[in-house]
């Protein structure tokens, strides 16, 4: 007979499920705990006999009707991509046309970066460097660079982003 005080019920059950010898020993000597464990066992047997109800017979049909009504996911992505690109270009245009100071300093900075980059990679680049220092080409470069960044971002958005509540 066990004279140990009864353990907390949760400790008893988790201990038993993990094969804790102390809990098993307590159970052998305690009729009250043994009866509780038996009640749980019976309840588990009843629970295991429950089954999922059948969905309505037209369930698949209803889902497919809704699926057909939404634009295909690929097309949605393309449209959101176009929208983001349009916004990006609008931003660039705004910088160029409303604030020439910002545009030219941005262009000058970019030209410097490009020139030094080119010097490192193509030591033989001769007359082209002079062309890069004009204002027009750097601006075009900034725009195309942003275009590439946006494209890259969109690609990442489509492949990587997976909201936790959806993929949980």
């Amino acid at each position: 007979m066990s004279t140990d005080p009864c353990p907390d019920l949760e400790r008893l059950f988790l201990g038993l499920s993990e094969g804790d010898p102390e809990m098993a020993r307590h159970l052998e000597g305690c009729a009250a705990c043994a009866a509780l464990v038996e009640e749980h066992r019976q309840l588990e047997k009843d629970l295991l006999r429950l089954a999922d109800p059948l969905p309505p017979p037209d369930f698949v049909q209803k889902v497919m009707a809704r699926v057909e009504r939404v634009p295909t996911p690929v097309r949605r992505e393309v449209w959101s991509g176009v929208a983001i690109l349009a916004a990006a270009f609008a931003g660039i245009a705004w910088i160029v046309f409303t604030d020439p100071g910002t545009a030219s300093s941005l262009g000058a900075w970019f030209a410097t970066a490009l020139v030094s980059w080119r010097e490192v990679l193509f030591a033989a680049g001769q007359g082209i460097a002079a062309v890069w220092s004009t204002a027009a080409l750097p601006l075009v470069s900034v725009a195309s660079m942003m275009f590439l960044v946006v494209l890259f971002g969109l690609r990442r958005l489509a492949v990587v982003q997976s909201p936790s509540r959806v993929s949980a």
Binding site: H40, L47, A51, V60, V63, M64, V67, A168
Partner: protein
């Protein structure tokens, strides 16, 4: 067994997911057909209302379709949709104003009971709440873990994936839910 055959056996949903991604509606319909019962079943157990369960389960499949390109085909498809459905159910429960106990009578009629004979049902009504009805009075947290483990026979690891929690916490949750259910089933404590 070839590599392709092996992949199909261990990931039976994979070919249909890949085809559905390319826009094949029949492939997506096959996926819906394969997992509709557990998804609808979990929704009904959480919402205790057939119309709402059907609506939310449909919505879950629609979201799965829209996010199919983000789904990792190496993970079980049914668990992924179950997780989406469960989140939608919890959102709805949070928005719902009426108490779940008001749905008790409805629940008795909508869910199949293992105690099917009239005599058994009569006894159950006289002495204590039926198991299904008692389950319906538990919190959503308790109901979902009981439904996934006992009704759908899922492992603690699978349940952890659906609920987005650590697998080590599932056994304790199960015990607590079962203990609450046991107390609800006590005729002297909960006369109906």
């Amino acid at each position: 067994m070839s590599v392709a055959e092996d992949a199909t056996t261990s990931h039976p949903w994979k070919p249909d997911v890949l085809a559905a991604r390319k826009g094949d509606p029949k492939a997506f319909a096959a996926l819906v057909r394969a997992v509709q019962r557990p998804v609808y079943g979990l929704c009904l157990r959480l919402l205790a209302n057939e119309a709402e369960a059907s609506e939310v389960a449909q919505e879950a499949f629609l979201r799965a379709y829209q996010n199919l390109h983000k789904y990792d085909v190496e993970r079980p498809f049914d668990l992924w949709v179950l997780a989406i459905a469960r989140n939608l159910c919890l959102d709805l429960l949070r928005r719902r104003t009426r108490a779940p106990s008001e749905n008790l009578e409805e629940m008795k009629d909508t869910l199949p009971s293992h105690a099917a004979t009239a005599e058994e049902t009569a006894i159950a009504r006289q002495e204590h709440l039926s198991l299904e009805a008692a389950m319906a009075t538990l919190s959503a947290d308790d109901r979902e873990v009981l439904a996934l483990y006992y009704v759908q026979k899922r492992t603690t690891k699978e349940i952890a994936q659906v609920l987005g929690v650590a697998p080590g916490t599932i056994m304790a949750r199960l015990f607590r839910a079962r203990e609450k259910l046991r107390q609800k089933m006590q005729p002297q404590e909960n006369p109906s």
